[in-house]
C-alpha cells in the first residue's frame, strides 16, 4: 500500500488515493485532498458536509449516502452536487478521509 505525506503527516492511501485509515485524517488535510479532486476552496458549506460525514461515520461505522447527507445532514442534494461537482459522494468521502463509498445509492 502506498503512502503519501499530507499536511506534514505520512498516511497510507489506496490505489485511488483514498485514505486507508480514517483515523489518520486531520482537518488540515482536507484542503490538500480537495485540490486533488479539483476543489480549490472549501467553504463553510463544504465543511458542513465534511463534518457531518466524519461524525456520522464515527457514530455508525459507515460512510453516509447522498440520501443520508440530505435527510440526516440537512444538505439538499442539489447543493451537494454544486459543492462537489461530478461525483459528490466519492469526492466528499475522499476529502473527509473516509474510504471509497461502496453502496449503489
Amino acid at each position: 500500500m502506498a503512502t503519501i505525506t499530507l499536511a506534514g503527516k505520512t498516511v497510507e492511501v489506496d490505489a485511488e488515493g483514498f485514505l486507508v485509515n480514517p483515523n489518520d485524517w486531520t482537518e488540515e488535510m482536507a484542503p490538500v485532498l480537495a485540490e486533488k479532486v479539483g476543489i480549490y476552496e472549501l467553504t463553510d458549506r463544504h465543511w458542513d458536509v465534511i463534518r457531518f460525514m466524519r461524525k456520522d461515520f464515527e457514530e455508525r461505522g459507515q460512510i453516509p449516502t447522498i440520501r443520508r447527507i440530505k435527510n440526516a445532514g440537512g444538505i439538499p442534494t442539489k447543493e451537494l452536487y454544486q459543492l462537489f461537482p461530478e461525483g459528490p459522494a466519492k469526492k466528499a468521502a475522499f476529502i473527509a478521509g473516509l474510504g471509497k463509498p461502496q453502496g449503489c445509492v
Binding site: 449516502t65 452536487y81 466519492k90
Partner: protein
C-alpha cells in the same frame, strides 16, 4: 465510440417501460448512479413506466406477486388481497435500510442530482394525460425522435 472517453462512459439515457416496483427501481438506481459518477443521465418513462412519475400513482407502485416466479409465492396465494401491498412494504423496508428511497423521494433526488426526466409522448396521448398529471420533476414530454436527439453520444438502456 462517442460515449466513451478514455474508456469512461460519459452519458446514459435510460428508458423505464414497466410500472411495477421491480420495473422502476433498476432504472432509477442506474440513473442516480450515473450522476454519482459524474455522468450525464436522462430518464425516459414510457407505457406503464409513466406511473412512476404520475402524481397520483407514484407512491402506489407495487411489486408483482403473480406471475413472478422469483417471488417464490405461488400465484394462487399471490392473488389474495393485500399480498402485493404486503410484499411491497417488506421490500421497501429492506431498501430503506440501504438508503434506497421510496419512489417519490427517489424521483426528486435523481432530479436534484441533475438527471433529466421525460415522459413519452405516444403514451401520454394514448392514456389522455398532460403535464398536470405528472410530478414537478418532469422536464417535458418527448417524442421518440427528440429522445434519440437527446441521447446522442451516449448509451441507451431499456428496462
Amino acid at each position: 465510440m462517442d460515449a466513451s472517453n478514455n474508456g469512461k462512459l460519459k452519458k446514459v439515457s435510460i428508458v423505464i417501460s414497466k410500472g411495477s416496483l421491480e420495473g422502476v427501481y433498476p432504472g432509477l438506481i442506474m440513473a442516480n448512479g450515473a450522476r454519482m459518477e459524474g455522468m450525464e443521465a436522462n430518464l425516459f418513462f414510457t407505457f406503464f413506466g409513466l406511473e412512476a412519475i404520475m402524481k397520483k400513482r407514484m407512491d402506489k407502485i407495487k411489486v408483482a406477486t403473480v406471475g413472478n416466479p422469483a417471488m417464490h409465492i405461488p400465484s394462487l396465494v399471490g392473488i389474495l388481497p393485500g399480498m402485493s401491498a404486503f410484499a411491497t412494504k417488506m421490500m421497501l423496508k429492506e431498501m430503506d435500510k440501504l438508503d434506497i428511497p421510496p419512489i417519490p423521494e427517489f424521483i426528486e433526488m435523481v432530479h436534484d442530482a441533475g438527471a433529466h426526466i421525460y415522459a413519452c409522448k405516444a403514451t401520454v396521448e394514448m392514456f389522455h394525460l398532460s403535464m398536470d398529471d405528472f410530478c414537478e420533476e418532469v422536464d417535458g414530454i418527448l417524442n421518440v425522435g427528440k429522445f434519440y436527439e437527446l441521447s446522442a453520444g451516449g448509451e441507451i438502456i431499456f428496462t
